[in-house]
Amino acid sequence: MSALLELDRVNKDYRIGGFLDSSILHAVKNVSFTLSAEKPEIFTIVGESGSGKTTTARMILGNETPTSGTLRFMGQDIAGIRSRADRLKFMAKAQPIFQNPFEAFNPLTTLDYYLYSTARRFLGIKDRGGVEAATDKALNHVGLSLAEVRGRYSHELSGGQLQRIAVARALIPGPRLIVADEPVSMVDASLRMSIVNLFRELRDTLGVSIIYITHDLSTAYYISDRVIIMHRGDVVEAGDAQSVLGNPQHEYSRALSGAVLPPDPEEARQIIERRMAGAV
């Protein structure tokens, strides 16, 4: 079995503080996991704020180099990608989706520019017609069409639409992996579902693997194949979604899933009441 993505004891340290009070922060500690190339899956990373999720994602995308350990994407060491050509080759296969759809598009640039640019650069299409066809095809995957997007600016569309355009853009080069860092935290429940459902569809129809980063355990449970739970840089628990989230073992995982508010007023209220009695 060949690996699509392989993390081998990856560490990332940051130096923080200023003048006199500098110290080392271990943002990611010894993280290892492997995504298979044969079987696309939705691989979810959950964990509290500051637990190293984003840092891990950034290392996978090659935006950050690990302090130690290796990350391999389709057999290639990600940290070793230097030249622009190699980088482009890598980016064609691994694409990100960002947290805040409004932030991910420059408000002063038309949305189609991102799509065209991607098509031109990664597919090497030169003529306008080809570019538009490729773009339209990708947009169709996410339930949109070029006609709806052409010439428009980010503030003219809803967050959900924007997020779908972002996904469509990521799909254009035909990636094997999409890294989505909290793609739904800013949107309402209904939109959240539409995006998450889209991921599912991508996995099933296009065979794209997805690394889904979130602190929303309910959606994680809803779509994940596998889950890892991070806590202060460590992976405290890993496994298939049903068992990890449904029946957490590690103390922290339990706390986390215990804190998930259920969409039911009576249950939720009880949790809060308990909390009030306990901690506060």
């Binding site: 964990g47 509290e48 704020s49 500051g50 809803s158 967050g159 959900g160 639409q161 935290s185 800013m186 949107v187 309402d188 429940a189 209904s190 939109l191 959240r192 579902m193 539409s194 459902n197 602190h215 929303d216 355990l217 309910s218 959606t219 449970y221 809803y222 779509i223 049903q242 989230l245 449904g246 706390a255 986390l256 899933s257 804190a259 998930v260 508010l261 259920p262 969409p263 039911d264 007023p265 009576e266 249950e267 939720a268 209220r269 949790i271 809060i272 909390r275 009030m276 901690a279 506060v280």
Partner: protein, 329 residues
């Protein structure tokens, strides 16, 4: 003493833009009426961009151009004193923090980044408390401790604190004067679940102890489920449903509410949930009739032309021609 602290009547607040020849009017708050009782937590839910923040800003009197109140009134009743937010700006100014405090959306960024946290407390609260410096700080420290913050945070700069701590601090800041009314916009969004729970517990606790009323906004239905006594559902600038939390969750009357509740996933249940079809309405050019009709599975012809009024129903109110015909999914 009046049982209602807040009375909002026929409130219309539009973003009116007339810039470089482009005229736009975004009807973010369109004819909203509601009342809030003493000692009650009222949650407002709705789609992204449906006008929740605009509504709450308008209620707080925190509007800046281009947002403008076009019609309607917002009246508070503090200790029998009626205060019209837009008719009496001066009195309103005096009541701030004394009777009414506000937790803004994105409260991580509301503290002055270059001053220590303690100055914010002094600036906002000192003059309302009528205490000596010493007693004031004693009171503040006591308050911080009660909500689980080390008084040493007063000596920190905002950026030295984590997001959760800053969120708590703004809650502390908003509650230290023990106001009658607290307005909060997305007080827990972007916090991780553990912290979120803490904060919610804190809000509930504070409210209960002070007997204050709270109106708050979030798109996260589980948060409403956890602390709201009543919730109002906003769709496209309008209040479409309102009622006790439990009733709304269990027996939503409006198809949009029903969908909202129905789409919530839950651990241990991975049945497929569908998203709302269609596009969110454009508030600059909202659909005619019932604004939800283009996306509504139950829409009938009447919905396209006639705007349903928000009418009392059982325990709450709902604005739908086919109210009651929805089944909670």
């Amino acid at each position: 003493m009046n049982a209602d602290v807040l009375k909002v009547e026929g409130l219309k607040a539009y973003y009116q833009m007339n810039y470089f020849g482009v005229r736009r009017e975004v009807r973010a708050v369109d004819d909203v009426s509601l009342t809030i009782r003493r000692n009650e937590i009222y949650g407002i839910a709705g789609e992204s961009s449906s006008g929740k923040s605009s509504l709450i800003k308008t209620i707080a009197g925190a509007i800046t151009p281009p947002l403008r109140v076009v019609d309607g009134s917002v009246k508070f009743d503090f200790d029998g004193r009626t205060l019209d937010v837009y008719a009496e700006p001066q009195a309103m100014k005096g009541a701030r923090w004394q009777n009414l405090s506000y937790i803004m959306q994105g409260s991580m960024n509301v503290l002055n980044p270059v001053r220590k946290v303690k100055h914010a407390f002094h600036d906002f609260a000192f003059k309302h408390m009528g205490l000596s410096e010493r007693d004031f700080w004693a009171k503040v420290e006591q308050h911080l401790q009660r909500i689980g913050l080390d008084p040493r945070v007063l000596e920190s700069y905002p950026h030295q604190l984590s997001g959760g701590m800053r969120q708590r601090l703004t809650i502390a800041l908003a509650t230290v004067c023990e106001p009658d009314f607290i307005i909060a916009d997305e007080p827990t969004t972007a916090l991780d679940v553990l912290v979120q729970q803490d904060v919610l517990a804190l809000i509930k606790d504070v409210q209960r102890r002070m007997g204050a009323s709270i109106i708050f906004v979030t798109h996260d239905m589980t948060v409403h489920a956890a602390i709201a006594d009543r919730i109002g559902i906003v769709y496209a600038g309008r209040l479409v449903e309102e009622g006790p939390t439990l009733d709304v969750f269990r027996r939503p009357q409006h198809p949009y509410t029903a969908h909202l509740i129905g789409s919530l996933p839950r651990i241990g249940d991975s049945r497929k949930r569908s998203a709302l079809p269609g596009k969110p309405p454009n508030l600059a050019d909202p659909p005619s009739g019932c604004r939800f009709h283009p996306r509504c599975p139950l829409a009938i012809d009447k919905c396209k032309t006639d705007n349903p009024a928000l009418l009392p129903r059982q325990t709450g109110r709902v604005a739908c021609w086919r109210a009651g015909e929805v089944e909670a999914a």
